[in-house]
């Protein structure tokens, strides 16, 4: 029925409604899959992902991010598409999705498709529609670009398994960090039904990897891995709870990425926080920084925060904050300390730490060498020695260092005062660049901003 109505609408109207409703999903990444075209159709995929434009909010546009339909039988309080909202409802047909994807792709507007959806009739019905669209795109149109789809909680595992064989990435949104938050804001959703497809995808990927070892040509299952997203600031969870949830998702569900999305009260729902200062962007930013510490810096959630100190410092990034609370482990001697220890020094990022460990084999490093390597000395100098000496006569004292660190203005990606965006100060490799590969552009720093790419 709904589809009949929507067929009279123009593609412009549909695209307007269905991309507007999809924009709150953070991920637009096209990374993680390297695939050449086979010459019989259209498209390929680059492991590093490719951004094709940047919207006025500074976020990367890589995929055609749309909903299949904004019809929905559920009534999640934070969502524009909730049943109780009086908004025009439209649906694409599988054919329309294919044409849009191909025509955008031919013009080099996009890397592929990110298809999500409201729930039409029931989860199975919706998932089947999505499958049909993707199947058509892959077989009839022979599209070999990147495809990311949402797995709809509650859908039949058989459809999810079929779909996983023809897409690059799948995601199931956790929506809210805790089961309690979920039951308050999304009464039709249950934590269990969200975790079930997540588990299924994880196991599918694992099993597929074994098959690929045995038989190289075996079809791949979700080769780009799975991701998820949590809304930040709609419910009262602490940063500690959120970071612990993320840690669990990485460890127990092998997720590729967890995205955090600062809550925007689109529905002006009175039971939800009003947030007169705008969405909690700084908090979201701190969570992304902490997320990097979990994934690349060997930190554990309860090293960063705990019950007594459940939220991040507004003024300092989580790494500097950790260092200031652990002054007993400093200063670190850069010519002797192991990699993991060096990695924990504020002002030293992953690339610099690797370079230090490599370069010091040829002789002791001096402060000027560290600078060339990419260490941000004005932050690191309080925490390190080179051959037994500190750079200046600085004291290892919390208040003193804190004051000095705060004078080095942290550059935030969303500053209103016109501070130039640079890399987030946590990722201190100022000239960090992938060193080889002809497309050795600054891909990483882009990906840092709100976790794009």
């Amino acid at each position: 029925m709904e589809i009949c109505i929507s067929e009279s609408t123009t593609s412009m109207d549909k695209l307007g409604v269905l991309s507007d409703a999809a924009k709150y999903d953070v991920s637009c990444s096209s990374s993680g899959v390297e695939r050449k075209g086979d010459g019989t159709g259209i498209g390929n995929s680059a492991a590093g992902g490719i951004c094709h434009s940047f919207s006025s909010d500074g976020r990367c546009i890589s995929l055609l991010k749309i909903l299949f339909t904004n019809e929905c039988i559920y009534d999640c309080k934070y969502c524009v598409n909730r049943r109780s909202n009086d908004v025009p409802r439209v649906s694409f047909t599988p054919e329309e999705i294919c044409t849009l994807t191909i025509e955008f792709y031919r013009r080099n507007f996009i890397e592929g498709l990110f298809l999500s959806s409201g729930i039409l009739h029931n989860p199975d019905y919706t998932m089947e529609l999505i499958y049909q669209a993707i199947y058509k795109l892959r077989t009839e149109y022979r599209f070999q670009g990147y495809i990311h789809v949402k797995a709809i909680p509650g859908a039949n595992p058989i459809i999810i398994a079929k779909l996983g064989m023809i897409v690059d990435r799948m995601s199931v949104n956790l929506e809210l960090p805790t089961a309690q938050g979920l039951s308050e804001l999304a009464p039709n959703k249950h934590r269990k039904t969200i975790l079930m497809p997540m588990r299924q995808i994880q196991q599918g990927i694992k099993q597929n990897k074994n098959e690929l070892v045995l038989y190289k040509k075996a079809p791949t299952f979700v080769p780009g891995g799975q991701s998820t997203q949590m809304i930040i600031g709609a419910t009262p969870e602490s940063d500690y709870q959120i970071v612990s949830v993320a840690e669990n998702l990485y460890q127990k569900f092998d997720l590729k990425r967890v995205y955090y999305s600062a809550f925007i009260n689109i529905n002006e729902d009175r039971s939800l926080p009003a947030l007169p200062g705008g969405p909690p962007l700084l908090r979201e930013h701190r969570l992304y920084q902490a997320d990097w510490l979990l994934r690349f810096y060997g930190f554990k959630a309860d090293e960063l925060l705990n019950e007594a100190r459940p939220n991040f410092n507004i003024l300092l990034d989580p790494k500097a904050d950790w260092a200031l609370r652990h002054l007993e482990s400093f200063p670190v001697e850069v010519n002797r300390a192991d990699y993991q220890t060096i990695l924990r020094v504020p002002g030293i990022g992953v690339t610099s730490a690797q370079r230090i460990v490599k370069a010091r084999r040829n002789g002791a490093l001096r402060f000027e060498d560290l600078k060339k390597i990419g260490v941000v000395l004005k932050r690191a100098l309080y925490f390190i020695t080179c051959s037994g000496r500190m750079m200046f006569n600085t004291r290892i004292e919390e208040d003193y260092i804190t004051r000095n660190l705060l004078t080095v203005k942290e550059r935030l990606p969303f500053d209103k005062d016109g501070v130039t965006y640079q890399q987030l100060s946590l990722f201190d490799d100022v000239n960090f660049q992938p060193e080889s590969g002809w497309a050795s552009k600054l891909i990483e720093p882009k990906s840092v901003v709100y976790g794009q790419l």
Binding site: S19, T40, I50, S55, S56, D57, R107, S436, S440
Partner: protein, 262 residues
């Protein structure tokens, strides 16, 4: 006396220059490679024009490839694409320095050497720009179905982006036009790509074709998508500008239309 070898701005020209420089059997310090004519001739210097020669160039290419390996060879190729006037001399002296090393394959890690550093920087700039084109280049569909992209890169990177688009659009007839240099990368459907140079003073037939019937629709659809996908509560134009340098926007569909309208 200082000797300046003037060579053509091409792989063949510069490689021939390197060949001739070696053939002179003089100190490399006295010899310089110069790309194109010099306006300010230096006193007490000798200038000699070098005629590009594909055989000599091929010999130099083989030596570089054999001695420096893939990484060094690719760096040289990318540096050749640079629009920097000093590239000829940098490549020549980098080759001299590299061949003098005990392991020439490590040439690109010898960044303390000023010529190697220069080649490294030129190569990186070209590679970056090629990547920008891969991201931001836009095709328009002409009435005969050909996809046509106007571009204006600073460096001569057309040959670096053609393989990427040929792999991804094997069944399309497409053209990438470097307007500044008057060169076209052509890809006929199901065939290999190649590059042609515009004839002096003659306008290309492409400019006589109209856009296809669907072109306006898809340009508008994408432009609309580009605007709706932004979250108003997070608008941050400075961040956008840092990610997407202004000079590319002239060629980008989504900025074209909005500019025309306003």
């Amino acid at each position: 006396m200082e000797l300046y070898l003037i060579c053509e701005d091409s792989l063949e020209g510069i490689f021939t220059g390197i060949y001739e420089a070696y053939a002179l059997k003089r100190s490399h310090q006295e010899i310089h490679l110069q790309v194109g004519e010099e306006d300010n001739l230096r006193l007490f210097s000798e200038y000699r024009s070098i005629q590009a020669d594909s055989n000599k160039a091929a010999k130099v290419a083989r030596t570089i490839n054999r001695e420096f390996g893939q990484e060094g060879f690719m760096a040289v190729c990318r540096a050749l694409a640079s629009n920097d006037a000093k590239k000829g001399d940098a490549i020549y002296k980098m080759v001299v320095s590299g061949l003098a090393m005990s392991d020439p394959r490590k040439v690109m890690s010898n960044l303390a050497n000023e010529y190697v550093m220069k080649v490294f920087e030129l190569a990186r700039f070209s590679a970056n720009e090629a990547h920008f084109l891969i991201e931001f280049l836009r095709f328009k569909e002409l009435e005969n179905g050909i996809l046509y992209a106007r571009t204006g890169p600073k460096n001569n990177v057309l040959t670096f982006v053609m393989p990427h688009f040929s792999d991804r659009l094997p069944l399309e007839n497409f053209v990438i036009h470097d307007e500044g240099r008057g060169i076209y990368g052509l890809h006929p459907a199901r065939k290999d790509w190649y590059v042609v140079t515009e004839e002096e003073g003659r306008e290309s037939v492409l400019s006589t074709y109209k856009l296809s019937a669907g072109e306006e629709l898809y340009s508008e659809l994408f432009t609309a998508f580009f605007h709706t996908i932004a979250v108003e509560e997070r608008v941050n134009r400075r961040l956008q500008r840092n990610m997407l340098p202004l000079r590319y926007r002239e060629y980008m569909t989504e900025f074209q239309l909005s500019k025309d309208r306003k």
